[in-house]
């Protein structure tokens, strides 16, 4: 009897090894409470067509701003959550209502941005910030094409990435640096006002 048990145990272990090497990539769903995102994009009301276009930008913009706030607060977990949310929103982004040349550009932007959001969803904070840098560039270019009803400030930190500098978007004029967080909260300047 004992031998049967033991051999069953060995079998179970072997099975476990096999099944873990087949790797189930289940992402552990974070059950944290809604993060303290203070900035939210306001949905716009205009004519139908425009508003459905702008609505999809505003959704990802809202999440982008949540992500930015999480990084300002040095909160890796909230940033990861926002990244994951953004992946879903970007995937449903429809480009067919735009002009032909814009469509290709938009597809490129969305493909790139999705990849960065995916990385943000599963990386330590240093990496999240690196991807946030390029994601910010994508968001700025996205908004240049599709527009937004939101009043935004494009800010710039000259020090990040070995002094190569990095931009981000915010709804407040006041500088709160997402690349350094509490280490250097007020590094940066407003480059441009959008709307």
């Amino acid at each position: 009897m004992k031998t049967v048990k033991v051999s069953l145990g060995v079998m179970a272990m072997a099975f476990a090894v096999i099944s873990t090497s087949c790797k189930n990539n289940e992402k552990n769903s974070n059950t944290t409470i809604e993060d303290a995102a203070t900035e939210r994009a306001v949905p716009m009301e205009e004519n139908r067509m425009e508003s459905s276009n702008a609505a999809q930008t505003d959704a990802s913009l809202t999440t982008y701003l949540e992500l930015k706030n999480a990084l300002v607060n040095d909160d890796q977990e909230a940033a990861a959550k926002a990244g994951e949310k953004m992946v879903g929103q970007l995937k449903t982004f429809k480009t067919e209502n735009y002009e032909q040349n814009d469509q290709q550009e938009l597809q490129d932007i969305i493909e790139d941005a999705t990849e960065h959001a995916e990385h943000i969803a599963e990386s330590p904070i240093g990496h999240q910030r690196e991807h946030f840098d390029i994601l910010s560039k994508d968001m700025i270019d996205l908004i240049d094409i599709v527009g937004t009803s939101q009043k935004l400030y494009q800010a710039y930190c000259p020090m990040y990435n070995n002094n190569k500098g990095a931009q981000w978007l915010s709804v407040t004029k006041e500088i709160k640096n997402p690349y350094y967080g509490s280490k250097m909260m007020d590094c940066g300047e407003v480059q441009r006002e959008i709307n």
Partner: protein, 150 residues
Amino acid sequence: MKTIKIIALVFLVVLVGIQFVPTNRNQSEVVPKSDFMLVNNVPKDVQDKLKVSCYDCHSNNTAYPWYNKIQPAAWFLEDHIKEGKDELNFNEWGEYSDRRKNSKLRSIISQIEDDEMPLDSYTFIHGDAKLSKEEKTEMIQYMTQLKNSL
């Protein structure tokens, strides 16, 4: 004593059994037109280093080590290669948009700068894949120049 024998036997059976589980081998004779080396004018030194240090996991053709024939090592490799190619496939470089090329180059540069690539688990076995300080500088310089030319 009898128990030990049975355990050993079961273990052996499982070990032999898993050798029959098929794996996808990442091998291809064809180098597509979109390959990094064909699209860009890459200096010979950098080409050689890329082939040895990066292409095993970041292209459609892996120079497999002998132990790839043995499970569970083969699974481990398969997993790494799949993940590596998802992130960056040098064979498909020409198909990436300029925006993505820019992103990829940015990541390549920072991964090399921070010694995150090539992976330690890889250089542990492939000593020749390690990048010396000079090779790192050369690689970063080339990738930066390529990024700026986009």
